[in-house]
C-alpha cells in the first residue's frame, strides 16, 4: 500500500511556512519590521482591501514574519489555517468573538486556566455571552449543559490544576451531535504530544508564550482552524454563513468553505479588535518552534525522572501527573498522549502552607514565577502566592490544597533539578 509522502513533524517544525527569502536568500526568517506594505497600483490596493486577492496591507491584519509562524503552526496541528495574536488570552477572545455574538452560550470545563475562567465567567457576560462550567470528566454534564443558545464547547487538553486529561474524542462527539464545534486550549500538550484536530477538535488555541515559544521571552497566542466543521450546516453561525457588509456582502462559508473561520478571524477580528502579534515576537517564537520536538522529548524525560524522585521523597505526600498510576486519567493518557502527558505536575508537601513557603524560598535553580512551559524549571506555591488570600476551605474548593506545589519541569540536567528539589524539600521540613 502506498503512503502519503508528507513531510514529517520534525521537518515541518523547521521548514513549514518559510522559503529562503526570494530577494536576499536569507535562510533565517527575516523580521519584517514594518507597519505597512507598498501597493503596486490602485487596482491591486482595491483588490487587497476587498479580499479579491491575497497579500499584506497593514501589520495589524497580517505580516510576512507572523505569516511564517501561522503557516507553521497550522502545519504542525494539521489545521487549514492559523491566526496569531499578541497573547494566549487574545487568541481565546478572538476565537470566541469570531463565532459568537450577544445571546450565545458556552459550555466549558471548570478546570481551566484562571485567566480563561475569568474571561468566560466575569467579562464575557458583560457582552451577553454566558458560560456554564462543567466537570470535564463527566460526559453527561457536558450534554446536560448544552442549550439552544450554545455555540461552542471549550476545555483544555490537560486541565488545571489537576492535569485532567480531556477525553477529546468523546467530548468532540457530544459537540458534533449537537451541531457545535469543540474548541481546545492545547497549551500544555503542544502539537508534539497531541494533535487535537485528528482526535475531533475543531478549533485549537495556544498560549504560545509557553512550550511552543519555549524560552520564556515573548508572549503570543494562536487560533488554529481545523477546517472540518461545517459552519453553514445550521443557522447558528451567521458570522460565517451569512453575507457580511464589512466586505461587500461576502459570505465566508460560501467563498472559503472549510477555511471560513481563518479568513473571518483575520479579516474582521484582527482588523477590529487589533490584538496582532508583533513581527519581533513572531521571530522569537519561531526560534522556539524550530526545536519543539527536541525540547518536548526532553521535557517529558525530565518529568519522568523528577516524578520518580518525588514519589520516593518522604517530604512529599502525593504526586499528581497523568503518568502516575494513581492519577484518575492514567489509562486515558496512555491512549491519547502516548509520547507523554506534558511537563507540568503538582505535588503535596508535608507540613502544609508553612512548609510550602519554606520550600519555595529554598529552591535555587528552579525559578519562582507565575508561568509554566519555560525551558527553565519553574515552581509556585499557590497557597502562599496567587491564592494567598483564600482560607483553607476556599483553597480546597478551588482544587488547590494548602500543601500543593506546582512544578513546570525544564530542560536542565535532570540530576541538577532533582538535587535542587531535594535540598529545598529538606529545608522545608526544618520548621
Amino acid at each position: 500500500m502506498v503512503e502519503p509522502d508528507y513531510l514529517k513533524f520534525d521537518t515541518l517544525s523547521l521548514h513549514a511556512g518559510q522559503e529562503p527569502d526570494p530577494t536576499t536568500g536569507s535562510r533565517g526568517v527575516p523580521i519584517y519590521q514594518t507597519t505597512s506594505y507598498s501597493f503596486v497600483d490602485t487596482e491591486q490596493a482595491a483588490g487587497l482591501f476587498n479580499l479579491e486577492q491575497p497579500g499584506h496591507i497593514y501589520s495589524r491584519i497580517s505580516n510576512p514574519t507572523v505569516a511564517v509562524l501561522e503557516e507553521r503552526l497550522a502545519a504542525l496541528e494539521g489545521g487549514v489555517g492559523a491566526v496569531f495574536t499578541a497573547s494566549g488570552m487574545a487568541a481565546f477572545h478572538l476565537a470566541c468573538a469570531t463565532i459568537m455574538s450577544a445571546g450565545n452560550h458556552v459550555v466549558a470545563s471548570r478546570n481551566i486556566y484562571g485567566g480563561s475562567h475569568n474571561m468566560l465567567n466575569l467579562t464575557m457576560p458583560r457582552f451577553g455571552i454566558n458560560t456554564t462550567f462543567v466537570d470535564p470528566r463527566d460526559p453527561d454534564a457536558w450534554r446536560a449543559a448544552i442549550t439552544d443558545d450554545t455555540r461552542v464547547l471549550f476545555a483544555e487538553t490537560l486541565g488545571n490544576p489537576g492535569i485532567e486529561v480531556l477525553n477529546v474524542p468523546v467530548i468532540a462527539e457530544i459537540a458534533h451531535e449537537h451541531g457545535l464545534p469543540l474548541m481546545l486550549d492545547a497549551t500544555f500538550t503542544t502539537p508534539y504530544l497531541m494533535k487535537p484536530i485528528e482526535l475531533g477538535a475543531d478549533i485549537v488555541m495556544h498560549s504560545v508564550t509557553k512550550f511552543l515559544g519555549g524560552h520564556g521571552i515573548a508572549l503570543g497566542g494562536v487560533v488554529v482552524d481545523g477546517g472540518r466543521f461545517d459552519w453553514a450546516a445550521s443557522d447558528k453561525f451567521p458570522t460565517l454563513s451569512e453575507p457580511y457588509d464589512g466586505y461587500h456582502g461576502i459570505s465566508f462559508a460560501e467563498e472559503y468553505g472549510h477555511q471560513a473561520l481563518s479568513m473571518r478571524a483575520r479579516a474582521e477580528g484582527l482588523r477590529d479588535f487589533g490584538a496582532a502579534m508583533s513581527p519581533a515576537n513572531a521571530f522569537h517564537l519561531l526560534q522556539g518552534v524550530e526545536t519543539l520536538p527536541l525540547r518536548m522529548r526532553r521535557h517529558v524525560e525530565n518529568t519522568t525522572a523528577v516524578i520518580e524522585f518525588l514519589e520516593e521523597n518522604e517530604a512529599v505526600s502525593w504526586v499528581s501527573h497523568p503518568s502516575v498510576s494513581s492519577h484518575p486519567d492514567h489509562e486515558l493518557a496512555k491512549e491519547l498522549l502516548p509520547k507523554g502527558a506534558g511537563a507540568i505536575l503538582s505535588f503535596g508537601i508535608t507540613g502544609g502552607r508553612e512548609a510550602g513557603r519554606r520550600f519555595i524560598e529554598n529552591v535555587q535553580l528552579a525559578s519562582h514565577v507565575a508561568n509554566v512551559g519555560d525551558a527553565k524549571t519553574l515552581v509556585i506555591h499557590p497557597a502562599s502566592t496567587t491564592h494567598q488570600q483564600l482560607s483553607a476551605e476556599d483553597l480546597a474548593a478551588a482544587g488547590v490544597g494548602e500543601d500543593l506545589i506546582r512544578l513546570s519541569v525544564g530542560l536542565e540536567d535532570p540530576e541538577d533539578i532533582i538535587n535542587d528539589l531535594a535540598r529545598a524539600l529538606r529545608a522545608s521540613q526544618k520548621g
Partner: protein, 262 residues
C-alpha cells in the same frame, strides 16, 4: 447563491456579488471529491472584474444536494442543462481535473452552451492508482491523504501560500475529508473509466490549457497528449507548480484567466 434545478438545490459561490446578466458568464467546475472553494482565489476577483463568476458545487458535493452522477457523460449532460436553465447564454467554462473532463464533454456534446474552455490539470485520460481507488472505496482517510500528497508541487508541501495564515496541505485534506462517504470513490471511478474518444474532433470552441510542471496527477506529458489533438488551443506553463494550481499559484492563475476569458 442557491438555485433549484431538476429538484435539487445547486449551490454556487459568486464572489459575494449577484449575477449580472449584462456581464459575460464564467462557470467554474471543481475536480474529484472537491467543491467550489477550490476557486476561492479566483471567484471573487473575476466577479469584481467584469464577469458573472459562478463556481458550482456538483450534485452531492459541497453544499449542493442531490444524488451523485456516476459518469463524466452524465455530469456533462447535467451541466449543460444547468447552463441552459441559468439563461445567461453560452458560458466560458473553466474546469479543474475531473472538471476538465466534464467541460470537454459538455463542449463536445452540447456545443451551444460553451463559448470557450479554460482547463487546469487536464488530460484525455485520468487513470487512478489502484491503492487510491481502494482507499476511496473503503472511505479511508488514506484517500484524502494520497490525493493531497500527489496534488501539490514540492514547494506547496513546505510553504508559499500567498494568503497569510493558510496552510495548503491541510486545506486540501480537510476539503476532501468533508466529502460525504462514497463521493471521492464515485468521482475517481468516473475519471478512471472515462474514454475521450474523438473529443478533439467534437469540441468547436477555443481552448486554453494551463499545466503545472510538477503536476503528478495529470502530468505535463498527459496534458501534451490531450493538447496535440486540438487545432485551436493555447497551452500555458507554470514552473514548479502542481495539480492544485489555482491555490498554489493564485496570482498567476488569476492573470491567465483574465486574459483567456476576455
Amino acid at each position: 447563491m442557491d438555485l433549484e434545478f431538476q429538484g435539487i438545490t445547486v449551490n454556487f459561490a459568486t464572489g459575494g456579488v449577484e449575477i449580472d446578466h449584462s456581464q459575460p458568464p464564467v462557470l467554474m467546475v471543481h475536480g474529484a471529491g472537491m467543491d467550489r472553494t477550490v476557486w476561492s482565489q479566483q471567484t471573487r476577483y473575476l466577479a469584481h472584474h467584469g464577469f458573472s463568476a459562478m463556481a458550482v458545487d456538483l450534485p452531492g458535493h459541497g453544499d449542493s444536494s442531490g444524488e451523485l452522477l456516476s459518469t463524466i457523460d452524465e455530469m456533462a449532460d447535467w451541466l449543460a442543462g444547468l447552463i441552459r436553465s441559468l439563461d445567461l447564454g453560452p458560458v466560458r467554462l473553466v474546469g479543474h481535473s475531473m472538471g476538465c473532463l466534464i467541460a470537454l464533454e459538455t463542449a463536445a456534446r452540447h456545443g451551444d452552451v460553451t463559448e470557450r474552455l479554460v482547463l487546469m490539470g487536464a488530460a484525455a485520460a485520468m487513470p487512478v492508482h489502484p491503492d487510491l481507488l481502494g482507499a476511496a472505496e473503503r472511505n479511508e482517510i488514506l484517500a484524502p491523504q494520497l490525493m493531497t500528497a500527489w496534488a501539490h508541487g514540492t514547494r506547496a508541501h513546505i510553504a508559499g501560500n500567498p494568503t497569510p495564515g493558510l496552510w495548503m496541505r491541510s486545506g486540501c485534506q480537510a476539503l476532501l475529508e468533508r466529502a460525504a462517504d462514497g463521493v471521492i470513490y464515485n468521482d475517481l471511478f468516473a475519471c478512471s473509466s472515462y474514454e475521450a474518444g474523438d473529443i478533439a474532433g467534437q469540441v468547436k470552441c477555443p481552448i486554453t490549457v494551463i499545466v503545472g510542471s510538477e503536476d503528478k496527477m495529470t502530468p505535463p506529458k498527459a496534458t501534451a497528449q490531450l493538447v496535440a489533438g486540438f487545432s485551436e488551443v493555447e497551452l500555458l506553463h507554470l514552473e514548479g507548480i502542481g495539480h492544485m494550481m489555482m491555490l498554489e499559484a493564485p496570482d498567476q492563475i488569476r492573470e491567465m484567466m483574465l486574459t483567456a476569458l476576455q
